[in-house]
């Protein structure tokens, strides 16, 4: 992993057309400003994880699987 130190107001570039600016910084949070073309998706990582988990969860649930699941909850 590349590690870069930056101060508030400083900017880093990713590729030709993505800019990330450090806007605010407290002891537990960093506020970033991102300039990027519309075609680039910017997501919180947790949303991507949940999207993957939802796709897994959307598979058909067979009666046998359901019975097995109920065993975990009762």
């Amino acid at each position: 992993m590349l590690v870069i130190r930056r101060k508030i107001g400083e900017i880093l570039l990713i590729g030709d057309d993505v800019e990330v600016e450090i806007l605010e910084c407290s002891h537990s949070q960093v506020k970033l400003g991102i300039r990027a073309p519309k075609r680039i998706t910017i997501l919180r990582k947790e949303i991507q994880l949940t999207g993957e988990q939802n796709r897994l969860a959307s598979r058909t649930i067979s009666p046998a699987k359901l019975k097995n699941l109920l065993g975990h909850l009762r």
Binding site: Q48, N54, L56, S58, T60, L69, H72, L73
Partner: protein, 143 residues
């Protein structure tokens, strides 16, 4: 009465007033905004979120308190704009089985439902307090 032929339940009749609206969809399924919350005798405490936009799409979920009685909900300001919490809110965890058949619950992203307004959101947390793959307890052996 409108009806839909679903993969999980076959033909379902439903009342428009029972439709649950997810204005933002769910991550991975952003265009699916209309669901029915289904409870079936014999499978309590499980609840099913059946999509009305995609008859094949159905999630299985359980009330959060049945998985973690101490669960502390935290919604982002963006999600709170979609839905304001009330004492009447229902909080569910979406369940999924891994390829190995192990069941987990997504505690990172609870489904929060305002029963009165019939609005819902999958409120993905901004913190790392809970896992998106929280293992369910092993079944108790029958005595």
């Amino acid at each position: 009465m409108p009806e839909i032929v679903t993969r999980q339940f076959g033909k379902l009749e439903f009342d428009e007033s029972a439709v649950l609206h997810f204005p933002a969809g769910l991550p991975g399924f952003e265009s699916r905004t209309r669901f029915l919350l289904i409870e079936r005798p014999g499978t309590a405490p499980l609840l099913f979120l059946q999509s009305l936009d995609a008859p094949k799409l159905c999630f299985v979920a359980a009330p959060m308190h049945s998985i973690d009685p101490d669960y502390a909900l935290a919604m982002t300001p963006e999600d709170q704009q979609i839905l304001s919490l009330s004492s009447d809110s229902l909080i569910l965890a979406v369940l999924s089985a891994s390829a190995s058949g192990r069941w987990t619950a997504n505690l990172l992203a609870p489904v929060v439902i305002d029963k009165k307004a019939r609005r819902a959101v999958q409120a993905v947390r901004a913190d790392a307090r809970y896992s998106h793959r929280h293992p369910l307890p092993e079944p108790r052996a029958c005595s």
